[in-house]
């Protein structure tokens, strides 16, 4: 196994973010084996959701351990406020608990579902509170959305998070700068197409094309399906 795998904490002993390990490692193994592992992890997440649908609290705890960090980070990135991010994460996990029985694997992975819930709710809150300009001001300080890590001592979990974030950021960093910025704004800002174009001072068609090219390239870099 690679060095990345050896530093994963116990709570990620089960298959976790396959795309991180499979696609972002500096020296990835055979793609087919990694893709199979990623699919296995997605199936494990789906199984956790199914158990949650049967009111299995242990499954909920495991899913929380697997999802809470990226979800909280996403909410915090969108909202720029830890209290609000915590509120969103609580809301999302309760929604997952309540709606787990209705989870449909054909519509995407459990993680994609959870991220979508988190992002949508965070963006809704941003729009509702009309704090868009304030959030944008924060976002523009880091065009690629990459901010310095916490300054405290690193735990095993911190190392994993950093590794994961670093791997993804590497993929994003491989994009042309204009695509990076367009994708980041599209994902974290909650702006409309037109607002993104105005923010970037580019024609709308150009912005759309950058988003398209950026996502397709990330897809090719990070891998395909996880179900």
């Amino acid at each position: 196994m690679s060095a990345l795998v050896t530093v994963w904490p116990a709570y990620l002993a089960e298959p976790a973010w396959g795309f991180v390990r499979v696609r972002m490692k500096p020296n990835p193994p055979e793609p087919s084996a990694e893709a199979a592992a990623a699919t296995e992890r997605a199936h494990f997440d789906a199984e956790l959701l199914r158990r949650m649908g049967r009111s299995d609290r242990e499954a909920f705890a495991q899913l929380y351990d697997r999802f809470s960090r990226p979800l909280f980070a996403t909410a915090l990135r969108v909202l720029g406020n830890a209290t609000e991010a915590e509120d969103i994460v609580q809301d999302v996990f309760l929604a997952l608990w309540e709606k787990a029985a209705a989870f449909d694997t054909t519509r995407g992975s459990a993680f994609a579902w959870a991220v979508t819930l988190t992002r949508n709710r965070a963006i809704d809150r941003v729009r509702m509170r009309k704090r868009r300009l304030e959030i944008l001001a924060t976002a523009t300080t880091e065009d690629a959305g990459v901010q310095p890590a916490d300054s405290g001592p690193d735990s095993a979990d911190d190392l994993v998070a950093k590794e994961q974030a670093g791997a993804i950021r590497s993929a994003v960093a491989a994009l042309p700068a204009e695509q990076q910025r367009a994708v980041e704004l599209a994902f974290f800002s909650g702006l409309t197409q037109q607002e993104i174009a105005e923010k970037l001072r580019e024609p709308l068609g150009t912005v759309k094309a950058r988003i398209r090219r950026g996502l397709l390239r990330l897809r090719d870099t990070l891998g395909g399906r996880h179900d």
């Binding site: 960090r69 980070a73 609580q90 988190t118 916490d150 998070a161 197409q193 996502l215 897809r219």
Partner: protein, 282 residues
């Protein structure tokens, strides 16, 4: 094969950037395009990985335990959280208190008013009950009077009926005028009326000659069913006026009175006419 346009639309779709008609058209096509569905699936997975590009951040350490504690009462917890999120300013509380006080005063006033109204209504109801009882009594009295009047009228009708019947009977009466057959009593006149139902009659005479002490006038009824006249009784007249008014009966049942006759007989009468006939009906 998916063209660039639909790749672009798929990219915007997974990021939630499609709106309105553009979104509707895309979802319509997506529902029937398996390749497009696969692309959307892959792009959704890809965009979800962007969550890791956010700066690393740890949720509060106690969040996990709190969530586990609240799983069983998620709905209650959400409701409480919503209440906290919508915490109201102080002036709203004062305004609510003022509204409550006004409402209490209004309700109290309504209560007092309603009690007075209820008492008034009770009085009105008592008066109405009394009026109703009076009306019932009056109706009862009128009913009794009406019954009495009805009985009286029924009786009157019965009487009238009897009277009419009696008047009907009059048609059956035999009324005859008797005239003198003797030259010595040319002015003598008599009227006889016979009621066949009662088998009796009335005889009124005028200007008949006074009788000797040993004599009587005797009335005879001629009924064809009998070979000789039937005795109707004897009578005398007022010596001064020659008048008499008597009620008589036949000594045999009479079916038809063909004639009335008056003869002069010895005192007390005879079973068969012997003396002279002084009056005979026409």
């Amino acid at each position: 094969m998916i063209d660039e346009l639909h790749e672009e639309l798929a990219s915007l779709y997974v990021l939630g950037l499609l709106e309105g008609d553009e979104l509707a058209r895309f979802e319509q096509r997506l529902a029937h395009d398996a390749a497009l569905q696969r692309l959307v699936h892959d792009l959704r997975e890809t965009t979800s990985q962007l969550a890791f590009t956010a700066p690393a951040a740890e949720p509060p350490p106690d969040l996990r335990a709190r969530l586990l504690d609240r799983l069983d009462t998620a709905a209650t917890w959400r409701a409480q959280r919503n209440l906290i999120a919508f915490r109201t300013p102080l002036w709203v509380a004062w305004a609510a208190a003022a509204c409550l006080a006004i409402m209490c005063a209004w309700v109290g006033q309504l209560y007092v008013g309603s009690r007075f109204e209820a008492a008034t209504l009770r009085d009105q109801q008592a008066v109405a009950d009394f009026q109703l009882r009076s009306a019932r009594n009056q109706l009862e009295a009128e009913r009794i009077i009406a019954n009495h009047q009805l009985s009286s009228m029924t009786e009157q009708l019965a009487s009238l009926d009897r009277q009419l019947k009696a008047e009907g009977d009059l048609a059956k009466f035999k009324i005859s005028t008797l005239v003198s057959l003797a030259g010595n009593t040319p002015q003598a006149l008599a009227v006889a009326v016979w009621n066949p139902a009662k088998q009796e009659g009335v005889l009124t005479v005028e200007k008949l000659p006074a009788l000797a002490a040993d004599k009587d006038y005797q009335l005879w009824l001629v009924d064809p069913q009998y070979p000789i006249p039937v005795d109707g009784g004897v009578f005398t007249v007022d010596p001064a006026t020659g008048e008499a008014h008597i009620t008589f009966k036949a000594n045999k049942p009479i079916k038809t009175v063909a004639k009335f006759a008056v003869s002069l007989e010895r005192k007390g009468g005879v079973p068969k006419a012997e003396g002279p006939m002084v009056l005979l009906s026409q």
